[in-house]
């Protein structure tokens, strides 16, 4: 059964189309990734699915409910961890969770039970009575993850769950997300512009660019579809025509003055390639990553930076509330 289906979901702003006729089918229990550069339309898609932004046209169903016609029922079926900090830092971790329980109309005993359960899950039981102000970025993120889970949603949305976090905290969060999917059979939708994150976590992912799906599949399939290994050559001038004549080279792309060749069994052919291209500065052989998949389908490298400022920056700014 498909827990989420979008039908020609579209969002237009004055001059640009942020999401363009998106059709997606997401199965129950899978971790699904929306991967793309900043401004690709991931967050807009997410905000439409969680009923915070109305679509310009098209619609979607979540857990069988229409996001346009039955927003209340959709809201009861979902949990979400937003991109920016969304907990009150003057309240304690426990109080933030209690607030959430009230907002979702949970009975008192169930609420307290669940608070215990989720605090335990994200290892924050010891710190539950500290104000969120005193939490680190990673702890705050974990608290928000715990909160998103508290009412046992059918679908959990995570918008850039590790943006701006240090590598250790990211690993931590990934571990929790993987456990959740396994233990609770929860459907999890992640938006991210980190390729490694998508690769590690997602069962399937859609690469989105300019509001459209560029390609969809499991990370493994997507990488396999590129066809074998990648040889990256750096040189002052390269004769591409010679390379194009080699029958086993499946694809040639250029980026930043480097040339990437896709081929099977790179080790076997390397000798010959080096012979024909002439003088080069450096060479590198590796298996393909999702970066290469993105590059292959869009002709661009995904930007790793975040023009809006990182999550941690916003958390810092938000603390100057006076």
């Amino acid at each position: 059964m498909n827990i989420i289906e979008t039908k020609n979901l579209t969002k237009k702003f004055e001059k640009m189309t942020a999401v363009d006729n998106l059709n997606l089918e997401i199965k129950e229990g899978e971790i699904f990734g929306l991967l793309g550069p900043n401004g690709a339309g991931k967050t807009t898609t997410l905000l439409m699915l969680v009923t915070l932004k109305p679509p310009t046209s098209g619609t979607a169903t979540i857990n069988g409910f229409d996001i346009v016609k039955q927003p209340d029922k959709v809201r009861k079926s979902i949990g979400i961890v937003f991109q920016d900090p969304s907990s009150d830092e003057i309240l304690t971790g426990y109080e933030n969770l209690k607030l959430h329980g009230w907002l979702y109309d949970m009975p008192d005993t169930l609420r307290e039970e669940r608070i215990k359960e989720v605090l335990n899950l994200v290892d924050l039981t010891d710190r539950k009575d500290d104000r969120v102000k005193k939490y680190s970025g990673g702890m705050r993120r974990r608290l928000e993850l715990a909160r998103g889970l508290m009412h046992h949603p059918k679908v959990l949305f995570l918008d850039e769950p590790t943006l701006g976090l240090d590598p250790q905290s990211r690993e931590h969060i990934w571990k929790y997300i993987e456990n959740l999917a396994k233990e609770k059979n929860m459907t999890i939708i992640i938006t991210t512009h980190y390729m490694d994150e998508a690769d590690k976590l997602c069962d399937r992912l859609a690469i989105i660019d300019h509001g459209k799906i560029v390609v969809l599949g499991s990370p493994k399939e997507l990488k396999k579809d590129l066809g074998g290994d990648i040889i990256r050559l750096k040189a002052e001038s390269l004769d591409l025509d010679v390379l194009k004549k080699l029958s086993y080279v499946k694809n040639i792309t250029q980026c930043d003055g480097e040339v990437c060749l896709t081929l099977e069994d790179a080790n076997m052919h390397l000798q010959e390639i080096l012979k024909v291209v002439g003088k080069i500065d450096s060479v590198e052989i590796r298996s393909p990553t999702l970066d290469d998949v993105f590059l292959h389908y869009t002709g661009r490298a995904i930007r790793e930076d975040s023009p809006e400022g990182s999550w941690a920056d916003k958390a810092m700014n938000a603390s100057t509330r006076e």
Binding site: L47, V50, T51, L52, K53, D72, R75, K76, I78, I80, F82, Q83, D84, P85, S86, S87, D88, I90, L91, E95, L99, H100, W102, L103, Y104, D105, R147, K314, A315, N317, A318, R321, E322
Partner: protein, 258 residues
């Protein structure tokens, strides 16, 4: 039932945050004291109002001023909530936007009324040391005053929330608010009697809903000789003001963009 719980949740949050941010509590009391002691004392040395000193005369006005500034300014917190994603977290919960608005009103009104209560305590202390002669602070007068202040505050908090819900930056909010708050304060007759106003000034004062709150409080706390209108009319006007603001606010919250 579920809506009530949600309203309670929002009220709980605003009140907790207010009580924990001591700077907010303290500054909210210092300000009115400065008006009362310095403006009241300084001007009071030069002008007299028959039976009561000027300081006593402006006490109701200072109560209203506190309510005005603290209530309208409360709207800035919604701008902050929008700046981080706290507002989204609330709006994505299965509760109506009207309830979100109501919860915020209760939160803001509680903040303001707590400050007012402290000013009443200070009023008692001042009476005891002879600073505010002629001020009638009794259980009844305080309760009636609180009724006036509650209704006025609800209307004023709504104004702050309406503006806050449409603004994106706290700086922009502050700018708009100062254009609104100061005229509302100066044109309310908080600092002067409104009996013999110049012709050009009177209409501005009569269209200001805050005028009626001040007038009503003067009647209750100083005596009917110090007020211009019938207190029931005063109360009717502030109630009407609050209802209109709630209606506009409900609409503004439904239209609020994130």
């Amino acid at each position: 039932m579920s809506e009530l719980k949600g309203i309670y949740a929002l009220w709980y949050r605003e009140t907790k945050v207010f009580l924990r941010e001591r700077s907010r509590v303290i500054s909210s009391i210092i300000n009115p004291l400065l008006w009362l002691l310095i403006i009241g004392g300084g001007l009071g040395a030069a002008v007299s109002f028959g039976d009561i000193p000027y300081q006593t005369f402006i006490y109701p006005g200072v109560l209203i001023q506190t309510a005005l500034f603290s209530s309208v300014f409360f709207g800035v917190y919604i701008v902050w909530d929008k700046k981080i994603d706290f507002m989204k977290e609330v709006l994505v919960a299965p509760m109506r936007r009207t309830s979100v608005f109501v919860g915020k009103i209760f939160g803001g009104a509680t903040d303001t009324l707590l400050q007012i209560l402290i000013l009443f305590v200070i009023g008692f202390a001042f009476i005891a040391i002879g600073i505010l002669p002629g001020l009638h602070l009794t259980v009844v007068s305080i309760l009636v005053s609180l009724a006036f202040l509650l209704v006025t505050t609800v209307g004023l908090v709504s104004i702050g929330l309406i503006i806050g819900s449409q603004m994106e930056s706290p700086e922009g909010f502050q700018l708009i608010i100062s254009f609104l708050i100061f005229p509302m304060f100066f044109l309310s007759g908080s600092l002067f009697p409104i009996n013999n106003l110049p012709k050009w000034l009177a209409p501005f004062i009569y269209v200001n809903p805050v005028t009626y709150a001040v007038d009503g409080l003067r009647c209750v706390l100083l005596g009917s000789v110090f007020s211009k209108f019938n207190p029931f009319i005063d109360f009717g006007v502030v109630c009407l003001f609050a209802v209109i603001m709630i209606l506009i606010g409900t609409y503004a919250f439904k239209k609020m963009k994130l």
